[in-house]
Assembly symmetry: C2
């Protein structure tokens, strides 16, 4: 599946998925859910974001299919629904680390 074969609408879908991940607070929420499902209040207190803001980000992530939700009484529990998330983040992280340590090394000379 090569990118150059993708029609424009498909590219927009791919871009949209990357865009969802392009927001640090959303990454924080994802990171918080790595340990397992949590309800909104828990995520609010852990991230120290406003409740409204957390709620909106969770909506974005859920609509993208990255998170799932489960209602239980008054609480709504969110959880990672797309395990490929971790592979994605790890790829980016390790690449960034490589780049940054290369720059750091260049400084020392």
């Amino acid at each position: 599946m090569k990118a150059h074969k993708l029609p424009p609408e498909a590219l927009e879908l791919v871009a949209a998925r990357f865009r969802v991940l392009g927001e640090p607070n959303r990454l924080r929420l994802i990171a918080a859910l790595e340990q397992g499902e949590k309800n909104v209040s828990k995520l609010v207190s852990e991230t120290e974001l406003t409740q409204a803001n957390v709620s909106r980000h969770l909506q974005t992530l859920t609509e993208a299919g990255l998170l799932g939700r489960r209602k239980e009484g008054l609480n709504v529990y969110y959880f990672i629904a797309d395990e490929s998330l971790f592979k994605l983040c790890d790829l980016v992280c390790s690449r960034l680390q490589k780049d940054l340590s290369a720059k750091a090394a260049a400084f020392k000379r």
Copy 2:
């Protein structure tokens, strides 16, 4: 390297990298370069974007370390500098395909 261990500044870096990929025209440029390096004029004619626009996107991609540039006379040739790009895109693409065919299947019942 787990995401929940990353400090906020690192998360911003990761998010920034995703954001660079979150623009369809930039993905088009990347796709165009999959076949090998090309100069700006070539990229302009292939993508049918304006020269100014292509130039700006190439700048964004280069500053992010995803592309490299090489000057040769009047021309500037751009090329993929980060091969992990393809793994990233393929991960997203295959995930999207799976999601979409699941939805398509759900329609048939």
